[in-house]
Symmetry: C2
Subunit: 188 residues, 2 copies
DNA sequence: ACCGTACTGGACCATCGGTCCACTTGTCGA
DNA sequence: TCGACAAGTGGACCGATGGTCCAGTACGGT
């Protein structure tokens, strides 16, 4: 990709922002691509031209949201960034993730539900990063455990229906505490 | 409901068995109601007449699978039934659930993905039972924790994509161990 | 100013869950 | 045994949705 035309860039931002806005007000499965296009003031073809598919849109949006978090984790100050103990970093990271999810209630669920019948082989990069980070932190403190699996189990909660309902009721703090309980229990 | 005609009963069993069979070979979202009808040798109208909706079918199937487990938990011998310590019962129950899920790979996922746009207010009875049981066992041993939330988090893993892939590769034992680790960690 | 190319939009398509209804078949009282 | 009625059946049909297509538009380098 050499360059992006200014109108294309404008439409891209409009689509992302419209998706974000719709997703904050409705459940992910209720948000149709046509709605997104209408809300962004473009045609449906444009949406698909830029993002390829519903899943592509969700991935792009999630990526935008999670980019800042990634920087903080890799080069930012403790406790999120390097420097603190794995335990502190894990708790801080879980809080940060809950915060991102809480402000974009249905996003992860929307991602989780797109299952990619044929293509889209690998996982979305955001999930890969989150999973990898959590997994590393667990392994650093408890090398005897199956860290990758435990990381999957911790993240699984964020995609589950009952938890989503919790978030819709605004009980993010409760979820955060629950995840902290789990994480602390794992690390012993 | 006073009685069920014999042909209706036969078709009902045929539909359930066909669904089961399709679900064991394909991912849940790839199994259409038309396929189910064709595989059962009936018309689509019949399927909907008996089960109301895709979700109704899944619930009925799941209920059939989980009924035995419920009896074992409520009146069976320890460690699943009453008599053992909450800790032992929880570990045994998690193993039993993993076993059920493992032999019906996509079922819970299929249930989790039907989100009921408008109606279907409450949760499926099977989930309610599983969640209630786990929640009680946690609360019995650790009244200081948020047992209902932790139960949701434990069960969430069974609906998540990465875990499903694990099961498709046959690593049920690994999942079982991971859940045991989590449960043991929670109980302290 | 011009031209090629990327971008645009909305008509169009295939598929899926679900509805409808004319027809068939079990069941039960007489 | 038989008739009638309710329960059951099946497949044409519907509306919605994700995704495709392509003729037209407009940006941006020259």
């Amino acid at each position: 990709m050499v360059k992006e035309r200014v109108d294309a860039a404008r439409n891209r931002r409009a689509i992302l922002r419209a998706t974000e806005e719709l997703l904050s007000r409705h459940r992910p499965e209720e948000v149709t691509m046509e709605q997104v296009a209408a809300a962004a003031g473009v045609g449906k073809g444009t949406v698909f031209h830029r993002f390829g598919s519903r899943m592509g849109l969700m991935i792009a949006l999630m990526q935008e949201r999670a980019l800042g978090l990634r920087d903080e984790v890799e080069t930012g100050p403790p406790p999120l960034g390097p420097g603190a103990s794995p335990r502190e970093r894990l708790l801080a990271f879980l809080s940060a993730v809950v915060d991102v999810i809480g402000r974009n209630k249905g996003l992860l669920a929307a991602l989780g539900q797109e299952v990619a019948p044929r293509a889209h082989g690998g996982d979305h990069p955001v999930y890969t990063f989150w999973h990898g980070h959590i997994s590393e932190l667990i392994a650093a403190e408890r090398p005897d455990l199956d860290a990758p699996l435990l990381a999957d189990l911790l993240l699984a909660g964020l995609q589950a229906e009952p938890i989503l309902r919790l978030l819709e009721r605004g009980e993010t703090v409760r979820l955060e505490k629950g995840l902290h309980t789990l994480a602390a229990a794992i690390l012993g």
